[in-house]
Each structure stands twice: as C-alpha cells, then as structure tokens.
C-alpha cells in the first residue's frame, strides 16, 4: 500500500520545469571544476561533491515536504526508502531508482539507477585513475544524508558501482545509522 501511494505522490507533484540539459551540463561543469581545483585528486572530489550534496539536502527537505504534501513521518525505514525512490527522486530528477538488496534487519538497502540524468553525456577521463576513484554522481549521496538528517535520521550513503566505471549497473548503498533524538544535536563520528 505504501508503495503505490508513494508512486502516486511522485506522479502528481507539479512544479516549474527547466530544460534537463541545462541541469546536466551545470552539474558537469561543477564536477569538472572540482577535478581541476583539486588537481584530479578524485577522493577529495568525491568528498567535496558529498559536502555540496549535504548542503543541498538540508535545504531541499522543506521543498520536498511542501511538494509531496507529506505530513506524517515515515513509520519505518522501508517506507522511507519508498518515499526517497518514488517521490524524492521523481520530483527532483524525474527518475525512479529501484529499491533492492535489503539486509534482513531492514537497515540497509540499495538504490539501482537504470537512468541517471547526471551521467547522460559523460565519459570519465582516460587517466587510469578516474574509473577507479571518482564517483561522478556522488553529490546524490550527500543530498540523501542531508535531507534525512533533517527528518531525524542519520544515514550513510555511498555508491558501490557505476556504469561510468564500466559496471553494468549504478548502485548506491544506504544504511540507517540511527534515529536522531529530537532533543540532541546530531553526533559527529
């Protein structure tokens, strides 16, 4: 039931649109600039992208709540996953990644991206390192981390495969660390 409701929310949400290629090219120029600024230290570029995403996530959640008309908190992490994939990604990137590979404790799952608009025009640099070190779409991990923190969930997210690296799928792994107590500020690790 939660699943079909989430899909409907994603479909019904209306908002102003812009040309997708403007967004994709803007993201591309951000990543290319980071690679230049950090002298192709891709590990650092991944961190910077995650950081940018985190900043976005903190601000995006309100927008998400308004656009999705969500009033109620998700009752469990599985429902959270549904809302991320079918409402969040649908609203902001017009894609619906597949939820899969749950751990038995229900605290870890994967999002598999059949489509990834950010990667549409991309071929990674042929320098013998980028395909081993750079997670091109890493900003998305930060966005999830930031947005979920705003609704009292501390998560960890990272990519484990990417078609840009020559993998057959693009997969992100998301783990629930803990629910954050309303009274306490989030702990840094």
């Amino acid at each position: 039931m939660a699943s079909s409701k989430a899909s409907r929310l994603g479909e019904e949400t209306r908002m102003d649109k812009v040309n997708a290629e403007l967004v994709v090219l803007t993201y591309g120029t951000i990543v290319a600039q980071l690679c230049k600024d950090f002298d192709s230290d891709y590990v650092e570029v991944n961190k910077q992208l995650d950081k940018m995403g985190y900043n976005i996530g903190l601000r995006l959640i309100e927008d998400y709540l308004a656009k999705s008309n969500t009033v109620r908190r998700c009752s469990n992490f599985r429902e959270t996953a549904e809302m991320i994939a079918k409402v969040g990604f649908k609203i902001f990137l017009n894609i619906t990644p597949t939820i899969t590979n749950w751990t038995s404790d229900g605290k870890q799952f994967s999002l598999v991206f059949d489509e990834n608009p950010f990667a549409d025009f991309v071929e990674l640099p042929d320098d013998g390192r980028a395909q081993d070190e750079l997670w091109y779409s890493n900003i998305l991990c930060g966005v999830l981390r930031g947005a979920l923190e705003m609704v009292q969930m501390q998560v960890e997210a990272h990519f484990i495969s990417d078609v840009l690296r020559g993998n057959d799928t693009t997969e992100m792994r998301i783990s629930l660390i803990r629910y954050i107590d309303d009274e306490l500020p989030p702990e840094d690790d």
Binding site: G28, F121, E123, L124, D126
Partner: protein
C-alpha cells in the same frame, strides 16, 4: 579506394586519425596506400588546411565537399560548428587488380560508383553521409564535461563508430 581520415583541431592539431579502405564493390576495408604515400598523407592533408581557411568564411555549409587535389589524392572537408575540421583524403586504387576497388576503376559502368570516381555525385553523397555520422559521434565525445577543446579523442567506442561509418558508406 583508400582513405585517410583525420579530425583537425582549431590549432591545426590532429585530434583523431584513421586509415581504411573501401568496403564497396567487394572491398575488404583495408587501405592500399603505397608505403611511401602513407607517410605523405598527413602532409597532404595538412597542406590543404590553407584552402580550408579560405573557404570557411565564404561557405557556411558544414560539408564543403572536395576542397583540394594533390596528384591522385582528393581531400574532402567538413567543418563543425566549433571550427574543427574533418578531412578525408581519398585515393582511387591506381592499378586494376591491385585491390577491391581496382577492378571498378577500369569499368565504365562503375565509373560513378563510390569506389572509383572521387568527384561523382554518388561519392560526394557517400562522403557526406560518412561525415554526418562521424559528426554525431564527435558531438557525443565533446559533450563530456571532461572533454576540453582540442583534446585528442581517444575513446575506443568513438573509433569503433568511425570504423562502422566508414564500412557503411565508403
């Protein structure tokens, strides 16, 4: 017919090169340049760049057709919007029986075919189709945020696509 194709950057620097032979009239796709001529191909192509510079500001078409001739070498040119040049040197096989295209050169019936006559409308059209297909793939290559202007195009998939276009049209 033997072909030498090169993409030349805005600083007259080569971005991509590929040598091949006709696949028409039973051709096997292998180039049949004389060993000495092979070394000259690059220079012949580069020496036609001056002519390209003259033509490019009077003709806004992307496909500029045959722009230069050097003995039996014909140079066809295509200019991208970003003023990168696609140059194709085509050379009919000189002696009959020398290769796939050789037999065609002798026959009147085939004298307008792609494999024989470098300036026939058919050849012109075939080269246009080849250039257009390469252009589409070239645009894909340069769309990558990591592609900087005048960078050599090293993608093996791009090379496969150029090879396929050559086989399909030439």
């Amino acid at each position: 017919m033997s072909y030498y194709f090169a993409i030349i950057g805005t600083q007259d620097n080569p971005l991509f090169e590929y040598e091949f032979g006709t696949s028409k009239q039973g051709g096997d796709g292998q180039p049949r340049f004389a060993e000495q001529a092979r070394h000259l191909n690059q220079f012949v192509l580069h020496s036609s760049l001056d002519i390209v510079e003259e033509v490019q500001w009077t003709n806004g078409q992307l496909y500029l057709k045959v722009i230069d001739k050097f003995f039996t070498n014909y140079i066809s040119c295509f200019m991208t919007a970003g003023n990168v040049k696609f140059l194709l040197l085509h050379q009919p096989t000189a002696t009959a029986g020398g290769g796939g295209g050789g037999a065609a050169a002798a026959s009147t019936r085939n004298s307008t075919s792609v494999g024989a006559n470098p300036t026939s409308p058919q050849t012109e059209e075939a080269i246009k189709n080849f250039f257009n297909e390469v252009y589409e793939n070239y645009v894909k290559a340069i769309m990558s945020p990591f592609y900087k202007v005048n960078m050599e195009i090293r993608s093996p998939v791009f090379r496969q696509r150029v090879t396929a276009a050559g086989r399909k049209y030439l």
